[in-house]
Amino acid sequence: MPEGAEQDKAILIREYITMKARILVVDDDEALAEMIGIVLRNDGFEPVFCADGAQALDVFRSSRPDLVLLDLMLPGVDGIEVCRQVRAESDVPIVMLTAKSDTSDVVRGLESGADDYVPKPFKPAELVARVRARLRPGDQKAPETLRIADITIDVAGHTVSRGNERISLTPLEFDLLVALARKPWQVFTRELLLEQVWGYRHAADTRLVNVHVQRLRSKIEQDPEAPEVVLTVRGVGYKAGA
């Protein structure tokens, strides 16, 4: 990637921060919520709190946050249900806070629509890094049309279609598809995708990639069991279909 673009991105991130991104923290543990608030405020974000899953959607609608930090286990309506509700009406990035690191719990959270997750106990820096990564604006969207298999991607218009049929994707899924489509000749390792799509410099859980690829396939493939758009390269990673 050229130097200039990197710098542009850095400037944009700073702009976002100065805009005081609003972050909705949904967590029933008051001490933790307060501590997260301290850390976020310290880094120039504006936290909004909600301690109850049942009210989370109302608070979300009224506060219109730029990002949601969501505890997986909540009294009343649990985090996964909240995640589904939010996802149903918004593409806002959702980062799960989870005390469970069992694969099934993580996968369940990601499948309900979360973009990322942070396992407890996390470091403040880790949390902030994840939040920033998700708030990072997408690349400058030049008018560009990409194709993989029978899928057409309008990058600027943020739309994906097969023939005349439009396919609705979350921003993260869209970014994942675009990253693969831009370099159809390249095989992406999971680590590379984590870096390019999620923006992680350090290795995170590659299950993130697996789950999101599955989710993407369920939306864009005609037969997710025999994928044609996103292909698995055994032992390496993924690549775009011909």
Binding site: D29, A31, L32, M35, I36, I38, V39, N42, M73, A99, K100, S101, D102, T103, K120, P121, F122, K123, P124, A125, L127, T189, A203, D205, T206, R207, N210, R234, G235, V236
Partner: protein
């Protein structure tokens, strides 16, 4: 056609027996029974009957040859055409024989029944034939002596006057022997004895019943009669009656008439006896067949009664084993079979109860671990974040508070790693750890682990050397767990390596991949190598806990390895460092037979004490490498 011809030789054999001169159907025993009587069987073979015999034998041999050739050809073509079907039938029967107790029992019963009936039937029919013959023989002998006496008396009292009256007398006398009525009771052959002076008035030379000549009398009998005084002899023979040959008994004696000695043979027809015997035999056959079928049916019914509950039980237990725990046997009545069913059901019920209980326990344990995890982690996160905020601001504190903030930060860190290790171990103990295996390049994982350990290694001043083949080694594995194992081994080696370089060797075979992590530090004794995978175990309790590990790292590594069906083994020698070897199957579900890397390093050659190497092989459960491979590696 086949069956018709096949039966051909059998009558021949039946005919042959009496012709051969051996005393008819039951001649042997009859002869024995008569041994004390005055009639030993004749011994010489008559030339005429021998010729007839050889001619017929020759004829039948030719016929049999032709028939057997035809049959062979027919069988061959039929065999070729029906071979697949025959094979199929044979296979089916063989499979049923192996798999069905009922089939086997019924078939065995049938075979045994047929064999015993054949033996009993043969014995019975032999006995009956003997008795029939014996009875007829006794009758024939008494009748003969009576009639011979009658004839002799008639001859003695006769007035020998002229030729015609003599001939009339002789013929009438002999015809009277044949019996009154329309049925001929006995036949006769009347023949002047040869080689005697012929008186002038001998008008009768020989005389026989209708269709008979002297040739039907066996020469042995004739010889016996001729050579004896006035004794009575008998022999079996064949007589022509109408168009058929019938078995018969010839009883002979001598009579005098008019100065001439005549041989008088009375021949008794055994046809009625033979018919009776045939009837009895056919009754025996039919009865035997019916009885065998009945026995087969009974065996089938009885075994079905016993076997069907057993096969039902087998079916039910298969279903139980497949996880259908609610499956039960049908119990009817109070007999042994019902008891079997009842106790089977009892067993199934207690099995179901225990399994349900275990499943509940496991679920509870799992939920407990999960709950503890959540409950502990949430406050720990707050504490950790607070500690970090304080730690980041430590420059603004006075020295005492600064040190406190540093201690708090470090110990929270340690507490956290201990907690996560404990939770990991408890997850293994609860059996909820699952392998999330995917085919990935292990070299990348190794490189990643080395990269992760590099900062710590730099701190200790020891380099990490990687010896690995070019390209990629694709292994079906849970990369997260393998990364954790390798990171643990490498950090362990760095920690105990005393600043000397740590070597990581990777090698693969057709079935397995091996990663060895070797340090040249203080090393360990074999007794210590045996315990490194124990929880919370430390080589030297007095030694400072420099890295602050939880003491669970190698235990978790061992659990992770077991999950992969791999081996994790340790070798150590005091002063020569240690070597840890991880061996994984390339594909899950395969067994490792030999690790591609050596456990005992080649670079430790201690002159003078080759046998003192402290090698220890720690197997992981069922994947223990066994003494052969261990010995191989020891060389």
């Amino acid at each position: 056609m086949v069956s018709a011809i096949k039966q051909g030789p059998e009558p021949a054999a039946q005919d042959g027996a009496p012709v051969a001169g051996a005393p008819a159907p039951a001649g042997g025993s009859a002869g024995d029974g008569n041994a004390n009587g005055p009639s030993p069987a004749p011994e010489d073979a008559g030339a005429a009957s021998l010729r007839r015999l050889t001619f017929r034998a020759h004829l039948w041999r030719r016929r049999a040859l032709i028939v057997s050739l035809r049959v062979a050809r027919l069988v061959r073509t039929g065999f070729r055409r029906f071979l697949p079907a025959l094979r199929f039938i044979a296979r089916t029967l063989h499979r049923r024989w192996r798999r069905s107790l009922q089939f086997r029992t019924v078939l065995t019963t049938l075979l045994l029944a047929v064999t015993s009936f054949a033996v009993v039937g043969a014995y019975l029919s032999n006995q009956i034939a003997n008795n029939l013959f014996q009875e007829r023989l006794t009758q024939a002998e008494s009748e003969t002596s009576y009639h011979v006496k009658q004839v002799q008396d008639t001859f003695d009292g006769a007035q020998v006057t002229d030729q015609s009256s003599v001939i009339t007398l002789v013929y009438d006398t002999l015809n009277a022997v044949e019996g009154r009525g329309s049925v001929i009771q006995r036949r006769y052959v009347f023949e002047a004895m040869p080689e005697q002076t012929k008186p002038r008035n001998r008008w009768v030379e020989s005389r026989a019943s209708d269709q008979l000549t002297v040739s039907v009398i066996p020469p042995e009998l004739r010889k016996a009669v001729q050579e004896s005084g006035r004794d009575q002899y008998w022999a079996s023979t064949v007589i022509p009656v109408g168009t058929e040959d019938r078995p018969g008994i010839a009883v002979g004696n001598k009579v005098d008439f008019n100065g001439t000695v005549y041989e008088l043979y009375l021949i008794y027809d055994l046809n009625t006896a033979q018919q009776t015997l045939d009837e009895i035999q056919s009754v025996l056959w039919a009865g035997g067949a019916v009885l065998v079928l009945l026995i087969g049916a009974v065996a089938w019914y009885v075994t079905r009664n016993v076997v069907s509950p057993v096969s039902h039980a087998a079916m039910v237990s298969e279903k139980l084993a497949a996880g259908q725990l609610q499956e039960r046997m049908v119990v009817r009545g109070e007999d042994e079979v019902a008891r079997l069913g009842a106790s089977f059901n009892h067993m199934a019920a207690s099995l179901q109860e225990q399994i349900t209980q275990l499943a509940t326990l496991s679920q509870m344990q799992q939920r407990f671990v999960s709950d503890v995890s959540h409950e502990l982690r949430t406050p720990l996160t707050t504490v950790r974040m607070a500690a970090e905020v304080l730690y980041d601001a430590r420059h603004e504190f006075d020295p005492i508070n600064r040190r406190s903030a540093e201690l708090l930060y470090n110990q929270v860190e340690r507490f956290q790693s201990l907690l996560s290790d404990l939770l990991e171990i408890s997850r293994f103990d609860a059996g909820v750890a699952v392998l999330d295996a995917e085919a990935e390049d292990i070299l990348q994982v190794v490189a990643h682990a080395i990269e992760g350990a590099a900062p710590v290694a730099a701190e200790y001043g020891s380099g990490i050397i990687l010896r690995a083949p070019e390209g990629a080694i694709i292994v079906e594995m849970d990369a997260r767990r393998i990364d954790r194992i390798l990171r643990n081994l490498i950090l362990n080696a760095v920690e105990h390596g005393e600043g000397k370089p740590v070597t990581v060797t990777v090698a693969a075979s057709q079935t397995a991949v091996g990663v060895a992590v070797r340090d040249h530090g203080i090393g360990m004794a074999p007794s210590e190598a045996a315990r490194v995978f124990d929880r919370f175990w430390r080589a030297d309790p007095a030694r400072a806990r420099t890295t602050g590990g939880s003491g669970l790292g190698l235990s978790i590594a061992m659990e992770d390895t077991k999950l992969h069906n791999g081996w994790l083994q340790a070798w150590g020698k005091k002063g020569s460092g240690a070597n840890f070897r991880l061996t994984l199957p390339l594909r899950q579900g395969e067994e490792i037979d030999k690790s591609p890397v050596q456990l005992e390093p080649e670079d430790i050659t201690m002159p003078g004490e080759p046998g003192n190497s402290n090698m220890l092989v720690l197997g992981t459960g069922g994947a223990f490498p066994g003494p052969e491979s261990a010995a191989k590696e020891k060389t």
